[in-house]
């Protein structure tokens, strides 16, 4: 600032005027400010006495983020039941396989498969005839 003295005088004058206007505040305004301050301090005390109010939203957000990451990182096979391996399939699925006529026909045309099925100890589904 090249003309520092003049600016300083202007700044000083502005500050004086502002200070005077602050000092001249009416009683009602002062009172309302006082009440607002007391309410704010009470709010701070409440927040301090129950910190869960502060941390609960943070914990909830962190849990949601973790869940989202876990779902995103989960392998596709785990999310898609149709893609699961049929190796070691439970007996119920074999029964279901035999329950359809098409599958039954295939089994009847293949005696080895039928023998294997009998070795598994499964009941004969839908009869044999």
């Amino acid at each position: 600032m090249s003309d520092g003295e003049r600016w300083t005088e202007n700044e000083r004058r502005a500050r004086e005027l502002f200070d005077a206007s602050v000092e001249g505040l009416d009683a009602e305004t002062r009172s309302r400010l006082n009440r607002a301050r007391q309410a704010a301090v009470a709010e701070a005390e409440r927040a301090q006495s129950s910190p869960w109010r502060t941390w609960l939203p943070v914990a909830a957000a962190a849990s949601l983020a973790l869940l989202a990451v876990a779902l995103w990182r989960m392998p596709g096979d785990a999310r898609d039941p149709s893609a699961q391996s049929t190796e070691g399939a439970p007996a119920a699925e074999v029964v279901e396989l035999l329950a359809t006529s098409e599958d039954f026909d295939v089994a009847s045309e293949d005696p080895e498969f039928y023998t294997w099925l009998a070795d598994r100890g499964l009941p004969e589904a839908n009869g044999t005839g």
């Binding site: 500050r15 505040l25 927040a47 301090q48």
Partner: protein, 207 residues
Amino acid sequence: MAASVSLDFATLARLADAEPTPAEDSALESATTLDRFLASVERRAFRIAQMAVRDRDDALDIVQGAMLRLARHYARRPSEEWKPLFYRILYNGIRDWQRRRAVRSRIFGFLPGSWPDDEDDAADPFERVAGDLPEPSRQLMADEAMQRLETALAQLPARQQQAFALRCLEGLDVAEAAAAMGCAEGSVKTHYFRALRTLRARLGEVW
């Protein structure tokens, strides 16, 4: 029954004699510190808000909101950080108020008499004259000068108003003003310099 009463008295006596726990001490101390801080800024903050929105009730609401937000979210921060934080919250409140008002005036502006004129909202200088001042005429002159300053300030861009209010009127240093305004220190200096230059051009060499 007598045993119960004597126990209650004993409990009361022990509670009365008990020293406050460190946690209670800390809470009390921080509440006192916060109260002291808010008391030191509340009137100046109110005047700054009033100059920006030119309405006493709205300015009071904005200051109250800033106090509550500081208390609710930042009371645990070091007290040295409170001042720039408080003024940042305050100016956010002022900006929100100005946006709401701009929207309302766009919506209702075409209706005659639906929105009071700015000149009607401007504070009457006589309202601020305190009754117990020794020299009313001198005070009146100061009020008029302040009114001219407020009017000139209101015509500045928002960032220049903020820089001037924080640096000159509130006395924040450049780093504090930058934190309060959310900008670089160089920007504060630029806004402040331009504000001073414009005010001098509009108000004269010495206001």
